[in-house]
Symmetry: C2
Subunit: 462 residues, 2 copies
């Protein structure tokens, strides 16, 4: 008996060793392919420089749908299709204009841009006293008396002491998203929001805002101001508290239009009904070309399929790339995908999103059970040679997060975040700020994780 145990132990260990060696070899093959014959950078070049910014409902968004579908079509995978979804259509209109006036006629122009979803100002713009606050909470302290008839200037900066810039963003973005809705309750006639940017520069950063259930007649225009503009405005108000602020924007919301999620899949050889999703969002803001947010995530997701195929790996489960439409100002694509998946009773076991920029990958965050997280943790050593160290619990992504249920492992790629908000939603989110190797390393890390989950399956939760 003891002899048998020893034999078993030797065989088991050999098997484990083999298996680990096989994983190391496969992951090395994935990285080598990504770094020597990668396609993601060329695809992103086209998406960014030949198509450009692709806000939902625009011609560019449709071009992006067609381009990425054609790429998937050319890959020789099992199925490629478009999933229709109605999306909002908000249009910026002509360039916005703003100034601060300390004395009648003495004005300084300031760089602003309308927030996505905002209403226009009246045709001639609005001009009023402007009151600085450190966040939404301060409105109640000031009260309607001090706010009515004024423009509210939200100027709480991102906290530079947080190492993850995404945390710093979370601590500020309520000003942008809900600032107008809340200020309107106190009689404000417009809001100006400090851009969500840790750097001092001249670029205003747009992004989604929401009026909630504010009736149409009470909706006030909202714009972002550059960080340097915000510092200037704040300093001006200290010297001249009665300075007036003028801004003009003629953005407009049109009726919803039809658009699409772009989907392609390799059917699983053994468990075709177990679906693993990899995705990013195809729409972007209009100011830049959306290279980091989220062109990078889209091309990396497509590259996962290509790298699996090119490395000769045959997935046991169905590997599906989903390029979601309308993450930025509606999340309609993500909702539609989750809704259809539910209707069809599809069994999603894993979903990975890349929507944090095309920078050097540092690791992944996981939204899953303890058992699943333990499973992932056992793979850490396979990633260490590639300088992927970060395996943490946390959110996955706005689009794939909607698939959340008990059985699924949700994951998000975590690239280095230091430069991200210097580009996010601004006119300098452009192709030249993406580094080819960093983008490719992200795609390789994603592919390696997908490979491991496909090979070993998702452990059954206790």
């Amino acid at each position: 008996m003891r002899f048998l145990i020893i034999i078993f132990f030797i065989l088991f260990t050999a098997h484990q060793g083999n298996s680990q060696f096989e994983d190391e070899k496969q992951i090395k093959a994935i990285y080598d392919l990504a770094l020597t014959k990668g396609k993601s950078y060329d695809w992103l070049n086209y998406l960014s420089n030949q198509i450009g910014g692709r806000l939902s409902g625009t011609v560019q968004a449709q071009q992006a749908v067609e381009y990425t579908k054609s790429l998937l079509d050319s890959m020789g995978i099992d199925r490629v299709w478009l999933q229709p979804v109605m999306v909002p259509k908000w249009v910026r209109g002509t360039p916005e204009f703003a100034y601060v006036e300390t004395t009648p006629g003495l004005t300084t122009n300031l760089p602003i841009c309308a927030l996505g979803g905002s209403v226009a100002t009246p045709l001639g713009g609005i001009k009023a006293n402007i009151i600085e606050v450190n966040g939404i909470e301060e409105l109640a302290t000031l009260g309607a008396e001090k706010i009515t008839g004024k423009i509210v200037f939200y100027n709480r900066p991102m906290d530079p002491t947080l190492i993850s810039t995404f945390e710093a963003y979370s601590g500020c973005v309520d000003q942008r998203y809900s600032g107008a809705k809340e200020a309107a309750k106190f009689g404000a006639i417009g809001v100006i929001v400090r851009s969500m940017n840790l750097r001092l520069d001249d670029l205003p950063h747009t992004g989604a805002m929401d009026y909630g259930n504010t009736v149409a007649s009470k909706r006030i225009p909202a714009a972002a101001i550059s960080t340097k503009g915000a510092e200037f405005l704040s300093a001006t108000l200290k010297l001249s508290p009665n300075a007036k602020f003028y801004f003009k924007q003629n953005c407009k919301i049109f009726d919803d239009v039809e658009s699409f999620n772009v989907i392609g899949e390799i059917r699983g050889s053994k468990y075709p009904d177990e679906i693993m999703v990899i995705g990013g969002h195809l729409d972007s803001w209009d100011l830049g070309d959306g290279s980091h947010d989220d062109g990078a995530g889209c091309v990396q997701s497509m590259e996962v399929l290509r790298l699996l195929k090119a490395s000769g790996y045959k997935p046991q489960r169905t590997i599906r790339v989903v390029l979601f439409m309308n993450e930025e100002n509606g999340l309609r694509g993500g909702r539609k995908y989750a809704e259809v998946a539910k209707d069809k009773k599809e069994n999603h076991v894993f979903a990975l999103e890349s929507d944090a920029g095309g920078f050097t990958p540092r690791g992944f965050s996981f939204d899953c059970t303890d058992a699943h997280f333990e499973q992932v943790n056992n793979w850490r050593h396979l990633f260490e040679p590639y300088l992927i160290h970060l395996f943490v619990r946390g959110g996955s992504g706005a689009d794939v997060g909607l698939l959340k249920d008990d059985g699924i492992v949700l994951a998000g790629l975590r690239p280095d975040s230091q430069r991200y908000f210097a580009h996010h939603h601004a006119e300098n989110d452009t192709f030249e700020h993406v580094n080819k190797r960093e983008l490719e390393l992200g795609a390789a890390a994603m592919t390696s994780l997908v490979y491991l989950f496909d090979k070993y399956g998702i452990v059954k939760s206790p």
Copy 2:
């Protein structure tokens, strides 16, 4: 007795807990200061944009000496001084010029730059057949018969599959450093070396080369060609093996001149004779402004002193910043510093170099004993909240490495390396490619490591 043991255990654990809490607090204070009131970025701005590239022996190198000394003087530290050192003076001269000619009169200009230390071509340039090799090893295979009278074109690229780009650099740089010396042995009349750059672009990257003991009359001119230029030249030679290459450069070596290492220190309160060095190199190549190589390391090193002081920490050991002169083309500053330290029988217990760019810090490499490495490994958890994960054995840096002996812990900052060689020694090593937060995070990581080594001392090697 058992009771006493329990009491001891409780006290010991409490002490450990206190100590750990204190370390966490101190490191958090260092990071907060670095990220909110950091000076390194402003200093680098001046060094890069007001002074610029500062090759040894130039006016700019002297300006850099004076500027950084004035910064240290203003810090209110215990001692600031200049350490004289004779340095080589190599001057590039007027811009280089090169073309490939497939048919007489049919030429294509190619971007080149002289390698540092190279001799000039004759005044009218040289024009000859050019022969491509994949590295120095190939010379012997070809033999003098095929090389004599020709220009040798070294075209082995950096290996893109290596995750650390420094490893890829190490695998190629012999072509640049020794290519001319080796090719001359086979009768070559000049060498052209593919730039040490993973990216395809139009910028030639300079860097040190060496003739060894080749007599002056046998020294042949050497230049770098941009990576795109190298690809073009290689493709041209496949179509037209008899194409001629022309290049012209009028660089020159002058007599050595005096320069300085810039040194400042805080004297240790308890063990003043135990010296901890933090440093970078003050000289840079002439094409860019040397922001990443190694302006970043210099300002980070000075910032270590400032952060220690600003956080109210009183070092027990002597903390000394050394800004080394002439790392790039002679290492004279590092040698002089080590020589003087030895002469004075100074006891160096720790040295940390930052000379790998101002990018997001990933960790440190350590050149030390097993016991010392174990000591460092016990601090990993203190760095993890700051996304510093990499603690590896390896080289420290060219300048501090010269202090190596059994008792010292040598360390090197390891920033993310993906973008480094796109800028290294080229005209785009400039200030706008340094991110403020990334630079500051590096300074904070360095300061935290210095704090821990100062507080706990260097364990005695067994």
